[in-house]
Symmetry: C2
Amino acid sequence: MSDDFLFADDSEEEEFEERGSWKILVVDDEPEVHAVTKLTLSDFVFQDKDLEFISAHSGEEAKKVFLEHNDIAVVLLDVVMETDDAGLKVAEFIRNEANNHFTRIILRTGQPGQAPEKHVIVNYDINDYKSKTELTAQKLFTVIIATLRSYRDIISIEESRKGLEKIISASADLFSIHSLENFIDGIIQQLNSLLGGATDAAYITSALASAQGGNSSDLSGFVVFSGMDDEATEVEKAVRPLEEVVEGEILSACKKALREKDVVYADDYVVAYCHSNTEPGSLLYLSGIPRKLNSNDKHLIEIFASHVQVAFENVLLTKDIEDTQKEILQRVGQAMECQLSGGRHIERMTILCELLAREHGLSEDEISVLKLAVPLHDIGKLRVPVEILTKPGPLSPEEIDLVKEHADNGYDLLKDSEKPIIKTAAMLARQHHERWDGTGYPQGISGKDINMFSRIAAIADVYDALRGTRCYKEPWSVEQVIEKFQQERGKHFDPALVDTLLDNITKFEAIIFAYPDSPEAIQQ
Amino acid sequence: MSDDFLFADDSEEEEFEERGSWKILVVDDEPEVHAVTKLTLSDFVFQDKDLEFISAHSGEEAKKVFLEHNDIAVVLLDVVMETDDAGLKVAEFIRNEANNHFTRIILRTGQPGQAPEKHVIVNYDINDYKSKTELTAQKLFTVIIATLRSYRDIISIEESRKGLEKIISASADLFSIHSLENFIDGIIQQLNSLLGGATDAAYITSALASAQGGNSSDLSGFVVFSGMDDEATEVEKAVRPLEEVVEGEILSACKKALREKDVVYADDYVVAYCHSNTEPGSLLYLSGIPRKLNSNDKHLIEIFASHVQVAFENVLLTKDIEDTQKEILQRVGQAMECQLSGGRHIERMTILCELLAREHGLSEDEISVLKLAVPLHDIGKLRVPVEILTKPGPLSPEEIDLVKEHADNGYDLLKDSEKPIIKTAAMLARQHHERWDGTGYPQGISGKDINMFSRIAAIADVYDALRGTRCYKEPWSVEQVIEKFQQERGKHFDPALVDTLLDNITKFEAIIFAYPDSPEAIQQ
C-alpha cells in the first residue's frame, strides 16, 4: 500500500483547513522576549495559517498552560527561570508526564553556561537548541518553519494512524453484525466515528437480486439497500430497485464507480466501489458528510469500503443458511401436513405463533427460535397410520390412543439434541396438546408447568384449525372462534394469552385471509 | 486508545535493535566537506547507534544514490554543485519524485547568496538551512541529533501505521474464513505477515466445549484448537483438552492471561487474552516468533487478538447454524425412515453418498450440498399409505404404482425453491429411482440425463438397503452385494460410479459397521 496519500499534493492545504493557527507556546520570564518574538513573527504564515501565541512566564505556568491545549505545535522554551533548570523540567514534563511526543520543543537560552548545549541536546528529548544571541529574526523564522514542518509530518502520519485504529474498531463492530437489519445502521454509526459527522449511507448491490443477475454496464439488477423506515420491519422494505431511488448525476456517479472500480467524490456525496470476489461488486453511497474530505479521509473510505463488502458477504452467507433452514422446516412441516389437508396450516400457524408471541411481549430472540421450531411440532404423526389421521368419522378409543401417541413419539424423535431449535421443537411436540387446566395429554400438566412456547403453539394450532376446513369439519366463523376462546379461557388455554389474542383479533384474522389454502387443497 | 506504546520507555532501545546505523547521505562537490563531516561526527552515537555515511558528489549522483536506499535518515545537502541550484533540485526530487517525506533534509550552503535563506526555507520542503560558516562542530552535532529525533518520531508512528494497515488487511482475510478447518491456518498466515516470520499458533477456548462449561480459574472445559495434522481431516481431531496439550510454565501463562485478561509475553512464546462478550473468553497462543517483540508489535498483537475473537465467534455462529440445519435434515429424514425401519439408513446413506462423491472426485462444495439434500430424498413417501410401505409380502400392481408416486410427490413438495440445497433435494426425490439403462421411474431417463447426484444417491441407497435388514428381507453379505453391483454395472447403475464403489469397498463397509441399527430398531 502506498503512503502517497499522506502527503498528497492536492490536500496539503485542505489537510489543515479547519485547524486554527499554529499554536506556539512561548515560555520566558522576561516580558520583552514575548514581545520581541511576537513582533518578529508577526507576518509569519506557513501553509496559509498564521501563528497563535500562548505565553507562560515560568516553568510552573508553562506546565499548567501546556495541559490546557492538546495541539501546541512548538514550544519556545527558556531554560533559566524560577530555577536554573526550570525549562529543562518543562521539557521532561511534556515528554514523560504529559506523554506528548508530537509537540516540538526548541530550547532558547540566554545563559548557555547554565545548560551546556551538548549535554542538553543529548539528555533531553528536545528538537533544537539555540542561544538567544544566535537567534536573529531570520534564524527564528527558519527554525519555526523547519520545526512546523516536522510537526506537520508527524501529525499527518498520526492522523492516518488514528484513522486506521478507528477502521479497526469499526471493522470489529461491523463483523459482529449478523443481520441485514442492523447492517446499514452499523455502517452509518462507524462512518460517524470515522469521518466525525452524521452521514447517510446506502449499499448498492446486485447480490440481493441474484435471480435477475447484475449487469455492471446498465446497473439493471442492482438494488439499493438503505436504512430502515420507522414503520418498516422487514428487510425487503428497505431494498428497492436502483432506478427507483437514484437518478441523474448520482446515477452517473454510480455507473462510473462501478466501471472504474474506484471511488467517485462529489461535493456532497461519495460513491465507493467495494471490491468483491464475485462480479460485478457493490457500491457504498455516502452523503451528509459534514466537511470537505482530505486525502487521508479518502484513503480511509477506500479501506472501509472493502471491509464493508467482506462484512456484507458474511451477513448474506449467514442469512442464506438461516433462510434455507427456515424453508426446510416449513416444507417438511407442510409435507407432513399435506398428507392430511394439503393446505397451509403449518405456514399460518407459524406466523400466528410469531404474532401472538410478539404481542405478548416475548423477546425477538425467543420469537426466532419459536418460529423455527413450530413446523416440527407434529413430526410424531409420522408414526400414526395415515387412515386414522384422515378418517372423516369419529375415532374409536383405540384409534384415539394411537393419535395421542404422536406427542411422545415426536418428543422421542427430537429430544436428545443439543441445538436450541430442535430442543424447542421436541418440547413443542410433547406439550402442544396439554391444557391449562391439566386435562390435556400426554403428561396432563397444567398452568405454567406447560412451557410458554407450547401454550402459544396450542392457541395458534387450534385457532387456525377452527377457522379452516378439515376432513371432519367446515370452517367456523370468527364470531364462533372468539366465543370458543372465551369459553376455554383458563380451561384449555392460558387466560393471559387468550386476552392477548382477543385484543388483537383483527391482526390474527388478517393472517388467515393473507394465507388461504389453495382450492384443490380444500377439496382434497 | 492511548498512543503511549509508540514511545514506550522500555522499548526505545529494542525499537531500533535490529536496525543498522543511522544512514546519513552527504551531498557535496568538495571532497574535504565529506572528510570534515565524517571526522566531526566520528564518535557520534544516538540511541546506541552510530552513523553510516553515504557520499554523493553531485546532484545527479545524489538522486541515484538516494533511490538505492529506502532508509536514509538525514541528507546533508550542498546547494551549488554542477549547477547553482543542483541541491535544491535534489530536495525537490526527494519529495516529489521519490515521494519520500520521511527523510530529513538539511540544506548546507557555502554561498548563501545563491540560495537566500528565506526564499529557500519557504519554498522547499527542507528541514533546516545552515550556512557552512555557522556549522561549528557543536552545531553540526546538535542539528544531527535534533534531526534524527524527528526522523525517529516519524518512523515510530509510521511503523505503527503500517502495522495497522497489515492488521486491516489481515482482518479482511480472517473474516473471509467461514470454516474452522481454515481458521488456525489463516491466523498463522496473518501473523507471518504481521510479525515477519514463521509462527505456530493455537487457539484456546471454552466455546467448543459448551457442554462441559468453561471455568476461568482451573481452565477445565478449555480445549486447544490448533492446526491440522496432515492425516486429520475432521475438525474434531484438532481439538484436544487443554491439560493434554499444555503443562508447566505455559499452562501457568495461560491461567495468568485469562485471570488478568491481558497478554503474557515470554522469551519464546506469547499468550494473548481475547476479549469476548461471553465469559470466560479465549486465548491466542503464539510461538516461533523469530525476533524480539517491540512495543509496537505488542500493540498489534493485542489488536489482532481481539479481531481473532470476533472472527472466531463468526465462524462458530455459522458452524452452529449449519450444524443445526444438518441435524434437522437428518432427524426429519430419520423420522420418515423410522416409520419404516427405525434404523439408521438415512444417516448411513448420507455418509455413503459423501464418500462415493469424494472418491469420485466431486468438489467439496458439491459434496456439502449433496450431504444436506440426501436426507429429504424420500420425503414423497409421506403421501404413501404406511401399510403399503411396511407390508411384508409382495405388493399388488396398484400398490406398486402408489409407491412409485413418491418420486414425483417428493419433487412437487420441494421443486419451487430457490435454495440450492432444497432444489437438489427436489431433484434427488424425483430421480433416485431412475436407472442408467432407462428402465427406472418416474421419467425413464437414462445415462447422463440422470444427474450425477442422483446416480450417486441411487447407489448409496441400494447399497445400504441390501446390507441391512428390512421388513421384507434379511441383510445380504458383502460378497452378494459386490456381485449384485457387478451385474447391475451399466444396467441399474452408472458404470464409472460402480467402479469407484468397488475400488473402495472396504471404506464403504467400514461405514456400514460404524453406524449399526440399534437392536430394537431391527426387531421393530
